[in-house]
C-alpha cells in the first residue's frame, strides 16, 4: 500500500520538477537517497529534506542549497537508515504463496477447456523439442568417448588423375609406419582395413560376416574400446589372431570358452585363433566393428606399395604438436620421397611433371571427432551424419518451441484479462506490485512445470517409436546429464516466465480505481501482441508445410525418376564364386525356369561400379577415366538397359570378346558423331587392348541422383562374382525360394546371399527419406499446436463477444454474417503469415536442393497450396466456434443479466 501511493506521488513530483528545476533538490541526490534508504523511513526523511531545502534556498541561494542538500543526504549514510534485508513488519509469506497456488489451481480447474488446450500444446511442444534434443545430442556424441579424441586424426587422399578428382579415405599400407618413423609429433598410427562378406566357419556353423577389420596391434591403445577377455597389448600382435565383439562371440560360441578357439576364414582358407573378446562398440562410433584381425595375418600390411591406396590411416599426435606442420610434412616430404619414384615407374613421368599436367596428389586429414558430421569422402567407414541436418533439426525444434510457448502466451494473456478485478482486490488489500508479478509468474511456471513433467513421460513412452522413425538407438538416459537437466529446467522456467510476463507486468500496472470501477475488464488486453504472435506461429507453420511438400516431391522424384534401367523384380546374388564349377549349370537351370526372365553374371553390380580405368582414343595421348565392368550376354536384358544405337553382345559374333557397350556420356566425352565401330584402347592389362563399340546404352543413373552420370562401359565376360536375376512373380518371396532352391541343388552347404536391386537403390536415399518422415512428423506437430492455440483463442473471442453476437442476431444478422465476422480477423493474420513465409521457405529449400544433381523445380503451386492449406486448417479451427456462436438463440445470450 505504502509503496503504491508513494509511486503516484513521485510521478506528480516529476511533473513539477520539469517546470521549475531549482525549486527541487538535485535529482541524483534523491535517487541516491532512495537507493540506500529503507523504504519505510524514506518518505519521512525525504520529505523533511525537501522541506528544509526550501528554507536553504531562501537562506543561501539555490547553488549552495543543492550542495548542502547532498551533504545532508550523505549524512544519512548511517546504519539506522539503511535498507534492511527483511522488513520490520512480519507478513505471513507462507500463507501468501499457499494462496497463490490455490488460486492457480482454482483457475486451472475453473477453465478446464483453456487449461487443457494450453497444457496439451505445451506438452506436445516440449516433448517434440526433447526428442530433437536427444537426436542432436546423439549425433554430436559420436566418438567423443575416446580418451584421446582431441588428438586423433585420419589421413585421406586428395588427387586428380586424368581429369578425374578423387577424394577418398584411402591410404597405402606403408604410410602408417612412415609417419611414426619420420614425422615428428605423430605419436602412433593405426590402419583399419575393412573386409565385408567374409565367410566364417566354426565347426559346423557358417556365417557371412561384415565389418571385419585387419588392424594394427595398438588398436586398443589407440581407441578407448574395451577388451573383456584377453590382453589388449598382445591380442592383435600374432599373425592369424583375432578379436570378436561380445555379441558375435556369444552368437558363435554361446556361453562357452572363447579364447583359443579357432575360426576358419573360408575366402582365404585361413585359421584364426580367438585372442580376445571386446565389449560391443556403442552405436555412436564411426568405427563400428564385428571382428578385428591382426594386420600381421596379411602380407599386404608389409607391402611398400605407396600407390595402393586401400584403407584409411589414423594417427595420434603429441599434446603440443602442430597439426598443420604434420600435414605439410606429409605432403612436402613423404610424397616426393616415397610416392614420387613409384609414380614415375607407373606413369613414366616424374611427380613434378605429373603435377604440371593438371594432376594432383596429396594427403588431407580430418579430425576423428569431426568424421561423423563433417567428413564427406568416398570409401568411408561407417555411415555418416550431416551437420546440416543437425542445424535443420535444431531449427525445427526451436520453431516448435516458439509455436508452443506462443500459444501459451496468447492463451494466458487472453485469459488474464478476466482477472483484472482480482488484481485490483489484491492491491487494495496491500499486495505490492512485485508480489502480484510473482503470483502470475508462479501460475504460468506451474503450467510449464506440469507440461514438462508430462512431456518427459511422453518421451519415455514414445522413445521406441521415435527410434523407429529416426533409425537411431536412443536411450532416455542421455537426458540424465546434469547440464541437460539444468537446461530443461531453465527452459521450463524461461517458457513459463515468457508466457506469464505479459499478464504479470501488464495487469499489475493498472490503477486500482480504474480496475475496480470496471474500466479495464472489458478490454481484451494485448490484442495487437496476440495478432503478432499468431502471424509468427502461422508463418513458421506455412514455412514448414512448404518445405515438407518440396522435400517429399524431391524424394518422389528421385525414387520414380526413369533411371535408365528397371530396378524392380531383380534379385542380386553375391559371392557366386561359391558355385565353383557349377556356375554354368546354375545359370542354365535358372534360365530354364518359366518364371525367370533371365540371369546374368557380372563382376560389379550397380550402384557400386568402383572400377575405373584409363582409356585412350587410338593415336591420341589424352587419358579418359571411365568406369568399367564385365558382364555376360544377358546383362542388358536382366537390368533393362535401353539400347539407343547398335546392338547387344551376341553369341553370333565371336569377335565380341573385344566389343563394348558404352553409355551416352562416353559418346559425348569422346566426341563421336557415329559411335558404332569407334575404338578405344585400354591400358589396364600388360599390353594395350583395342576395344570396339557395338552398342550405346541410354544413360542410366547407376549411382545416387546426388551426382551426375559418369562415363561407363561394359565389356563381355562371364566370370563375375555377382549374379543378377530378373523374375516374373509378383511375390518376391516365391522368387527367393525358387532361386535359393536351385542354389541348394548345386551347393547345399554354401550360404546363399542376395539382395533386391530396388531396395539397394532405395537404401541410398534412406537418409533423405528419414529426413522427409521426421520433417513431416514435426511439421504436423507444429501445425497441430498452432491450431490448438487458434482454437483456444477463437473460443475466447467468441466468449467475449457473446452479447454482441446476440444483439447482432436480434437485429437481423444472419448466421453466415456472424461466422464471417468472427473469422475475418484470424484470416487476415494468416494471409500476412503466408506472405512473410514465402521467401525464407524458398531460400531454405533451394539450398537443400542444391545437393542434388537431379532436382525438381520449385513451383509456385507448392507455395499456393501450402498457403491455402494453412488457411483452410485455420478456417476450420475458427469456424467451429464461429458457427457455434452464430447458431445460438439470441434470447439465451441476452437474458443472463
Amino acid at each position: 500500500m505504502a509503496a503504491y501511493s508513494f509511486c503516484c506521488i513521485k510521478m506528480e513530483d516529476n511533473l513539477n520538477h520539469k517546470k521549475e528545476d531549482y525549486n527541487r533538490p538535485p535529482r541524483w541526490a534523491d535517487h541516491f537517497l532512495e537507493w540506500f534508504c529503507s523504504s519505510e523511513l524514506l518518505e519521512g526523511i525525504q520529505g523533511d529534506l525537501h522541506e528544509l531545502y526550501g528554507k536553504w534556498i531562501k537562506r543561501m541561494g539555490p547553488v549552495k542549497a543543492r550542495w548542502y542538500y547532498l551533504f545532508n543526504v550523505i549524512l544519512f549514510l548511517r546504519p539506522f537508515a539503511f535498507r534492511r534485508k527483511k522488513p520490520h513488519y512480519h507478513v505471513n509469506y507462507i500463507a501468501m504463496y499457499k494462496n497463490f497456488f490455490i488460486v492457480a489451481l482454482r483457475n486451472m480447474v475453473r477453465q478446464k477447456f483453456y487449461s487443457f488446450i494450453t497444457l496439451l500444446g505445451l506438452t506436445i511442444g516440449v516433448a517434440a523439442t526433447l526428442f530433437i534434443l536427444l537426436y542432436i545430442i546423439d549425433e554430436l556424441s559420436y566418438d567423443k568417448f575416446h580418451t584421446n579424441i582431441d588428438r586423433m586424426y585420419r589421413v585421406g587422399l586428395n588427387g586428380k588423375l586424368a581429369g578425374q578428382e578423387i577424394h577418398v579415405a584411402l591410404t597405402p599400407p606403408p604410410l602408417a609406419q612412415a609417419m611414426v618413423r619420420e614425422v615428428p609429433g605423430v605419436e602412433s598410427a593405426l590402419r583399419m582395413w575393412q573386409w565385408n562378406d567374409v565367410v566364417i566357419r566354426y565347426e559346423d556353423q557358417v556365417y557371412t560376416e561384415d565389418l571385419i577389420f585387419h588392424t594394427d596391434s595398438n588398436f586398443f591403445d589407440f581407441f578407448s574400446f574395451k577388451l573383456i577377455e584377453g590382453d589388449p597389448q598382445t591380442a592383435l600382435k600374432e599373425p592369424n589372431s583375432m578379436v570378436l565383439k561380445e555379441s558375435m562371440a556369444k552368437k558363435i560360441f554361446g556361453d562357452g570358452e572363447k579364447l583359443g578357439k579357432i575360426l576358419i576364414f573360408s575366402n582365404e582358407n585361413k585359421a584364426m585363433k580367438v585372442t580376445g573378446v571386446a565389449e560391443d562398440p556403442t552405436h555412436n562410433t564411426h568405427f563400428d566393428f564385428n571382428y578385428l584381425v591382426s594386420f600381421s595375418s596379411n602380407d599386404f600390411g608389409e607391402s611398400d606399395q605407396w600407390l595402393s591406396n586401400t584403407f584409411p590411416t589414423l594417427f595420434l599426435i603429441n599434446e603440443n604438436a602442430d597439426i598443420n606442420e604434420i600435414v605439410s610434412k606429409l605432403n612436402n616430404e613423404l610424397i616426393p620421397k616415397y610416392v614420387g619414384p613409384q609414380l614415375q615407374q607407373l606413369l613414366g613421368i616424374s611427380l613434378d611433371q605429373f603435377l604440371e599436367q593438371d594432376g594432383a596428389y596429396g594427403y588431407f586429414i580430418d579430425a576423428v571427432k569431426d568424421l561423423h558430421l563433417y567428413s564427406h569422402v568416398d570409401f568411408d567407414l561407417g555411415t555418416s551424419g550431416d551437420i546440416d541436418y543437425i542445424y535443420i533439426f535444431a531449427a525445427i525444434g526451436l520453431f516448435i518451441l516458439i509455436i508452443a510457448s506462443t500459444n501459451f502466451m496468447n492463451l494466458s494473456t487472453a485469459k488474464s484479462s478476466g482477472r483484472a478485478r482480482e488484481v485490483g482486490m489484491r492491491k487494495t488489500f496491500g499486495s505490492s506490485k512485485k508480489q502480484l508479478i510473482g503470483q502470475f509468474l508462479i501460475e504460468s511456471i506451474n503450467y510449464s512445470l506440469i507440461a514438462v513433467l508430462i512431456a518427459i513421460l511422453l518421451v519415455i513412452i514414445l522413445l521406441p517409436n521415435f527410434n523407429l522413425l529416426s533409425g537411431k538407438d536412443l536411450e532416455f538416459s542421455y537426458l540424465l546429464k546434469p547440464g541437460l537437466i539444468a537446461a530443461v529446467i531453465s527452459l521450463m522456467l524461461f517458457v513459463g516466465f515468457l508466457a506469464g510476463s505479459y499478464p504479470a507486468f501488464y495487469l499489475t500496472s493498472y490503477r486500482i480505481t480504474e480496475v475496480l470501477k470496471g474500466k479495464v475488464t472489458k478490454g481484451m488486453g494485448g490484442g495487437r501482441i496476440r495478432g503478432v504472435l499468431i502471424v509468427l506461429q502461422f508463418a513458421i507453420s506455412i514455412l514448414l508445410i512448404i518445405c515438407t511438400i518440396l522435400v517429399y516431391n524431391q524424394l518422389q522424384y528421385t525414387q520414380n525418376k526413369n533411371l535408365g534401367f528397371i530396378k524392380e523384380k531383380v534379385i542380386v546374388i553375391s559371392n557366386v564364386d561359391r558355385l565353383n564349377s557349377n556356375r554354368k549349370a546354375f545359370k542354365d537351370a535358372l534360365m530354364g525356369e518359366s518364371n525367370i526372365v533371365a540371369a546374368s553374371y557380372s563382376n560389379s553390380m550397380i550402384p557400386e561400379v568402383y572400377n575405373t580405368t584409363v582409356f585412350r582414343k587410338p593415336g591420341l595421348e589424352e587419358d579418359h577415366i571411365v568406369g568399367v565392368y564385365f558382364a555376360d550376354h544377358e546383362h542388358v536384358e536382366v537390368l533393362g538397359y535401353e539400347l539407343v544405337k547398335g546392338r547387344n553382345f551376341s553369341r553370333d559374333f565371336p569377335s565380341d570378346s573385344t566389343a563394348m557397350l558404352v553409355n551416352q556420356v562416353v559418346v559425348d566425352e569422346m566426341g563421336w558423331e557415329e559411335p558404332i565401330g569407334e575404338k578405344l584402347i585400354s591400358y589396364d592389362g600388360p599390353q594395350p587392348l583395342e576395344l570396339e563399340v557395338v552398342g550405346v546404352l541410354k544413360d542410366f543413373n547407376f549411382e545416387s541422383l546426388h551426382a551426375n552420370v559418369r562415363p561407363i562401359l561394359i565389356l563381355l565376360g562371364n566370370f563375375g562374382n555377382v549374379m543378377s536375376v530378373r523374375f516374373k512373380m509378383d511375390d518376391p518371396k516365391e522368387a527367393i525360394s525358387l532361386i535359393e532352391g536351385k542354389w541348394k541343388d548345386f551347393v547345399p552347404e554354401e550360404p546363399f546371399e542376395f539382395s533386391f536391386l530396388d531396395e539397394t537403390f532405395d537404401e541410398m536415399y534412406r537418409s533423405e527419406q528419414r529426413l522427409g518422415t521426421l520433417f513431416s512428423t514435426f511439421t504436423i506437430l507444429a501445425i497441430l499446436i498452432a491450431c490448438l492455440g487458434l482454437f483456444g483463442l477463437a473460443a475466447f473471442t467468441t466468449d467475449q463477444r457473446t452479447k454482441e453476437i446476440g444483439i447482432r442476431k436480434a437485429m437481423g444478422a444472419s448466421g453466415f454474417i456472424i461466422a464471417r465476422l468472427m473469422s475475418t480477423e484470424f484470416m487476415k493474420y494468416i494471409l500476412i503469415a503466408f506472405i512473410l513465409s514465402i521467401y525464407p521457405a524458398y531460400y531454405f529449400i533451394n539450398n537443400w536442393l542444391e545437393n542434388f544433381a537431379y532436382r525438381i523445380d520449385i513451383s509456385i503451386w507448392v507455395f499456393l497450396i501450402s498457403g491455402v492449406t494453412a488457411l483452410v486448417i485455420a478456417l476450420l479451427t475458427v469456424s467451429y466456434h464461429a458457427l457455434k456462436s452464430a447458431r445460438i438463440n439470441p434470447a439465451t445470450t441476452l437474458r443472463y443479466e
Binding site: 519521512g44 525537501h50 522541506e51 545532508n72
Partner: protein
C-alpha cells in the same frame, strides 16, 4: 537501575517531542532545538536519534496526511509514549535528588 540509559541529546529530543505534541516531526524538532538551545543539528542526527528512541519504545511514529509543500510526501510525526513520559520523569527526579545532595556551599561558590 533503569533499563534504558537516556543520552543527553536523546533527552533533549524527547523533551522537544513532548513539547511539540502532535506537531513533532523532523523539521519542526530541528528548528525547536535550534530555537530553544541554540544548537545547530543536522536533520540526519535528529532522525537517527528519533529512530533510536522509537526503538527503545519512548516514541511512537505515524505518517501524517499528504502535504503540498514537501512534493506531496507525508510527514512522519512522533509522539511520546507513556513509557517515555515515565522515563523523563525518572530522569528529572534523579537529577533533582542529585541536586539536593550537593552542599549549598559548593553551589554558592560556583555561582559567584
Amino acid at each position: 537501575m533503569r533499563r534504558n540509559y537516556l543520552g543527553e541529546f536523546e533527552e533533549i529530543v524527547l523533551l522537544i517531542c513532548a513539547q511539540l505534541g502532535n506537531e513533532a516531526y523532523g523539521v519542526s524538532i530541528t528548528e525547536a532545538i535550534h530555537g530553544q538551545t541554540g544548537r545547530n543539528v543536522t536533520i540526519s542526527a535528529i532522525h537517527a536519534t528519533l529512530s533510536r528512541l522509537e526503538k527503545k519504545g519512548l516514541l511512537n511514529s505515524h505518517m501524517g496526511g499528504v502535504t503540498k509543500e514537501r512534493g506531496g510526501r507525508r510527514k512522519r510525526f512522533f509522539t511520546i509514549t507513556l513509557y517515555g513520559i515515565q522515563i523523563l520523569n525518572e530522569v528529572l527526579e534523579l537529577r533533582q535528588q542529585l541536586w539536593q545532595r550537593i552542599p549549598s556551599v559548593v553551589l554558592k561558590w560556583k555561582t559567584i
